[in-house]
Symmetry: C2
Subunit: 361 residues, 2 copies
């Protein structure tokens, strides 16, 4: 490509990245606006704006950018944020209005994520956690109601976001209190031995869908995110919730319990195992001479540490996990010599795999 | 943290990311401006601006962002770009003025990166490639001169950016033609058996520094990038070049040949080997149910494929590589059972490692 064309294509790609960040900023500002309204605070906070501009000024100077221009840009970005915070939401946005949703495990990171999502869509959230004080504190922070497992009786939807090992038991206990036509959701990362058992041990008068959000709960919005779904008993409640999720840009991928676990044995078990093994292998490294690419991998290892119980739970509970790890170990051993023909085959295989993988979102 | 505080911290982090992208856009615009000047084109191109705004409009609508605000933001971003393109560079920026620099392997991606960098810093670049037609085409695109290996005789600095296996031979041939006090640079990713040999087989009248840029050549600017340096014979030319590199925000890390290869056996050999093994293990995967984290890892695997010869060259030529791969394979096998005490130790180890690694840039 001509060099001018190359640089312009690069600038176009940067512009799309900037726009994605503006969208993310907008979504955060929207939630901030709702919180402020519920707490009776003013939308605009001049002191906060001055603080941001001071940070931009300092950072620009450090980056050798003329602050005159970056400050002008951020003044315009404030306008976008103000719109987000002021937004009178169209009724069509309130997809979950009049819905009572109980989130068990609501003090955990994924529980909080769903709490925010549901509140933003007009639903009324009650959260339950193991620790009473933490439940009260989190409920206050999120401006939702604190509750108890008993509240399952009066809920339209019950979302169970507890640790993997408790999921089955908590789901069954909650389900027994739920009224006819209500929806039970779990968010467990392993399905066999959990969702399939829940499906048969819960009353058939309630809807039941087992979800696996394929993202860590530190994302800002659902746009472009994948959610795996094993739908056992669906009805009007699930229709409403799934439309709310897809309406926010999430993709819901339906599958069987077994397909989920077989696929996750690759996407999660093999992937995390390779990174944990790498982490262990790097023990002798001081951390200097970082390449760009190892910086990215370390960020992923750090996020595994941040979700340790889930990561290890998957390694221990996915029925295909042990076999996957064993095959991974065999693979690494078989490649040690990296002979010429092996290398050429690997390149061809990898190139066609990467192409195949890129066809799916 | 209070929920309002949490969202504000998140917005602050997004703002820093936006600013980084503005810096990257600015650096690209600067190079674009120089190219336009050398080709006698006008700095401002209204049609190009309209094209960009049309793309922003479409993308905003797709993201459910009000284009009114995003277009205002991009109008201000254009001002920053115009400043970048118009910039009359201060003489202090022209750190390489009056320097003749020959880049052997100048048609490759890393050669082109250095070509742009040196031109942007006022140096005069001549490039040599194996293929004559491609050399002419690349030289025209980059607005530099095409040349031959013989031009080493009249160069102040010769940068050898050829494939790893040819580095030693090309360096020695070029060095024999270089004049007294000129600087020879190679960019090879393995140092033992290459740089140490070049150091003794080249005339002592020339400076010689062996560099390893710890980034792929698709970066936009050097700010924050690491470059490993084994400096065998330094003098005024290297002083100038290294000041130019650090002046652009790169960090030059000096070390011995052996330290380089031992460290890279972890940072590159173990890291790439883990990812290649993972890629091979995922053969049965269709590409659906992508998690956010596997999307990032696939992007890294894709970049390995994009630099395949270098990646495999490192695996084959780094003297510690085979041992590293063998230890990695042993590690993956020893962890297959993932027993409780092992898991707890791994978590502690990883947490303290990630903390240790984060102390270095």
């Amino acid at each position: 490509m001509d060099e001018i064309g190359r640089i312009r294509a690069r600038i176009d790609a940067i512009d799309q990245d900037i726009l994605q960040l503006l969208k993310t900023r907008y979504e955060n500002a929207k939630i901030l606006g709702q919180l402020k309204r519920r707490r009776g605070l003013a939308t605009r906070d001049r002191q906060r704006e001055r603080d941001i501009l001071a940070k931009i000024q300092r950072a620009s100077e450090k980056l050798d950018l003329n602050p005159r221009y970056s400050l002008q840009i951020f003044h315009k970005i404030f306008n976008l944020s103000l719109e987000a915070q002021r937004e009178k939401r169209k009724p069509s946005f309130h997809k979950l209005r009049n819905k009572e949703i109980l989130i068990i495990g609501g003090t955990g990171a994924m529980g909080q994520f769903f709490s925010r999502f549901i509140t933003a869509n007009g639903g009324t959230v009650t959260i339950v956690g193991r620790d009473q004080r933490r439940t009260l504190k989190t409920a206050e922070d999120l401006a939702v109601k604190p509750g108890r497992l008993l509240d399952a009786a009066s809920s339209d939807i019950v979302i169970v976001a507890v640790p993997m090992k408790s999921t089955r038991q908590v789901c069954i206990r909650a389900a027994n209190r739920m009224r006819s036509g209500a929806l039970l959701i779990d968010l467990c990362s392993v399905k066999s031995g959990i969702a399939d058992i829940i499906a048969v041990q819960t009353p058939s008068r309630i809807e039941y869908v087992s979800l696996h959000p394929l993202f860590a709960p530190d994302i800002d919005h659902l746009d472009g995110q994948n959610i795996a779904a094993v739908s056992y008993r669906t009805g009007p409640q699930w229709d409403r919730l799934s439309r709310t999720l897809t309406g926010s840009g999430a993709r819901i991928i339906k599958m069987t319990c077994d397909y989920h676990d077989r696929t996750m044995a690759l996407v999660q078990v093999a992937h995390h195992y390779a990174l944990l093994s790498l982490g262990n292998s790097l023990k002798g490294w001081s951390g200097d001479l970082k390449t760009n690419s190892i910086k990215r991998t370390i960020a992923t290892v750090r996020s595994l540490l941040g979700n340790w119980d889930t990561i290890i739970g998957i390694q221990q509970l996915n029925p295909y996990a042990r076999q996957t790890r064993r095959e991974f170990a065999k693979m690494t051993k078989s490649m040690v010599e990296l002979r010429g023909p092996q290398v050429n085959r690997m390149r061809r295989d990898l190139a066609s795999l990467v192409q195949k993988w890129s066809r799916k979102p």
